[in-house]
Amino acid sequence: MNKSSRDVMTFKGGIHPADSGKVLSENRPTLTAPLLERYQVLLCENVGKPPKPVVNVGDQVGKYQLIAAADGFVSANLHAPTSGKVVKIGEVPGPMGIPAPAIEIEADGEDRAAELFPPLNWETADPKELVKRIADCGLVGMGGASFPSHVKLSPPPDKKVDTLILNGAECEPFLTADHRLMLERPRDVITGARIMARILNVANINIGIEINKRDAVESLETLAEGTNVKIIPLKVRYPQGSEKHLIQAIAGREVPSGGLPADAGCVVQNVATAAACTDAVMKGLPLVERIVTVTGEIVCRPGNWKLRIGTPLLEALRLAGGVTEEPGKILFGGPMMGFAQRSLGVPIAKNTSGILLLTREEALRHRATSCIRCGRCVQGCPMHLSSCLLATAIENGRWDLAQQNHVMDCIECGSCAYVCPAHRPLVQLMRSAKMELRKRKK
């Protein structure tokens, strides 16, 4: 089959954001950020229980040294991004707007590495040992949710997992961090995929990539030849990178309502997590840095940087040369699902894939008017919900109706609010209903 005319897979629903903005940063090679004086490593960055600090104020730590240990199974280790002294264990501005606990490390400038884990040969090592290594190195899902990777890689025995999917879709406009990673470290991505497949004991490995990253598709395809790794080109459509929709597009299965990907026999991991997995297993390196896209129309030098975890937002902006005008909004993540930040001191975490600066015009919020029942939100909803009806129910406090109409299945992708001609704040309504229903369940 001809490459240009082959079928590309996708899912039903979703939207096509007009200008993806990826052109700003996709052709700029990743640069390594210089060493900073201070790093603030957030403790609460992963889903699940925050890890417990194992260092005290005044302690000397080496780079890659464990500074906070996982507290329970669904929790991830944290490591020092550089060598230096622990100066503070306390609150710093958090990415969710509220102060969050963090460990502050003052760098000594030597960047001296502590003792690393011994490299493992993944092809012969015991899968249990590999999972332990991934847990030791503090790997979390780097696509956004930052779910501890070792938990995902140990599905319950009653769930039969037969497919591993790597998420290279990067469907959020503006972000190019995963794209650059796939271009610059394709070998590590594929090795990481094979390590995870060995852990899960699956033969079916798929890497899904949206076709606007044709160069990444091609480079990975050349490397994957002769292995059991399949590269799946996907249609450019938001939210292609959502776990559930990736499974739908690649495996043709649907994750049941309220279920996990394991219920559909799949495990989905981000490509950046796969590369970090290779580092952890083959070099014994804990996760202390990641590629972050710093972008926006008003950023002087938009691009991708390899930043250490705990780099404050302000320092990342400095690397990008600052801004040409005052931004209207600063987001962590992409424009669709990113979180607006209220302080320049917020440190980046393991799941921060991008820093996006919007101009005042871009951040402008139109006045919401009444629903005209055009149904565009229903067409755009990838979860097939009736967003407009849900919104009306929620506005009137009818939580029972909202629940009956499956508001809990909403993935908060923002497709409905994007297409709404009445500019209704649909995602916020869904979120408030989900919050209320969760509160009532307790």
């Binding site: 707007g97 302080s343 919020r365 704040p425 916020q428 408030s432 209320e436």
Partner: protein, 289 residues
């Protein structure tokens, strides 16, 4: 068949049969309903209806029951004394007690207090919030636009919930109209920041601040916060207490503070005030600007 009515042949027998069938069927079904209604009649307690009549019918839930009828049932069954209704006046409660022949029960009138005085002009904001105009929705966006994490967000979730219209939003601050508030606690339940407290109605002086942060930190974000200086506690340790940088009125003390106490203490930020002063302060700032 001819469409014109005059030429249509009418089968009178058929018409009579139809009428008889409908009438007979109706009569039969009516009879069944009548018999069932007689045999399976649920005998209601007429006292419940009586008490429901005597209650104010606000359905506020201040008594802890689902509504006035539910409360009436609990009064009749002896679970609650009639005095537990916060809305009824003493006379109304006595009427119920008299009708049922029970004790009035202890009446402790309550009212709500918004423990925050950070209005649009005295407290600082960190972001422009343009989303849904509800406190609960604003809390979802980075914890709300206010720099103080404990203060009133002023979008009126409580005012919308109040069955008595006792809450007014003045310059982004909820203030209580004491004469209308009966202390049912619906506002306190709905406030996402937990700013509203239910206190004895006899108390007229309160500390209008809810932030347990250090005084210096509070001062940076709000000019009307309680700094935790302890001036009031030193002046009158019987009436005030200091916990974690926040002065509190001892509501269970024998003597409650009044206007004179406020004058004597001289709170540096004006966080110690009466509800009326609290309301007027929010308005005064508007006049200045």
């Amino acid at each position: 068949m001819d469409i014109m009515l005059g030429t249509v042949a009418v089968d009178w027998k058929l018409v009579a049969a139809a009428v008889a069938l409908m009438a007979g069927g109706g009569l039969l079904l009516g009879l069944i309903i009548g018999v069932v209604a007689r045999c399976f009649r649920v005998v209601g307690d007429s006292r419940v209806d009586l008490v429901t009549e005597l209650l104010p019918g606000a359905n506020c839930g201040g008594c802890g029951k689902a509504g006035c009828r539910d409360f009436a049932k609990s009064v009749v069954s002896g679970e609650n004394p009639p005095g537990k209704c916060p809305v009824s006046t003493r006379e109304q409660v006595s009427a119920i007690a008299l009708a049922l022949g029970v004790e009035v029960g202890e009446i402790v009138p309550k009212k709500a207090v918004v423990r925050c005085s950070g209005n649009l002009f005295t407290s600082d904001r960190v972001a422009y919030y343009k989303g849904i105009n509800k406190c609960s929705s604003a809390m979802l966006v980075g914890g709300g636009p206010k720099l103080c994490r404990y203060g009133c967000l002023g979008m009126g979730d409580c005012a919308r919930k109040c069955p008595f219209g006792a809450i007014e939003i003045i310059n982004n601050l909820a203030v209580i109209h004491e004469e209308l508030c009966i202390g049912c606690g619906r506002c306190a339940a709905v406030c996402p920041r937990g700013v509203i407290a239910i206190v004895p109605a006899a108390a007229h002086v309160h500390v209008f601040c809810n932030s347990p942060e250090k005084g210096a930190q509070k001062r940076q974000v709000c000019r009307s916060a309680c700094l935790g200086c302890g001036k009031c506690v030193r002046k009158d340790p019987e009436k005030f207490e200091l916990t974690a940088g926040l002065a509190k009125v001892k509501y269970d003390a024998a003597e409650l503070p009044d206007m004179e106490t406020i004058e004597a203490v001289g709170c540096p930020t004006g966080a110690l005030a009466t509800t009326e002063r609290h309301r007027l302060a929010a308005k005064k700032e508007a006049a200045v600007k």
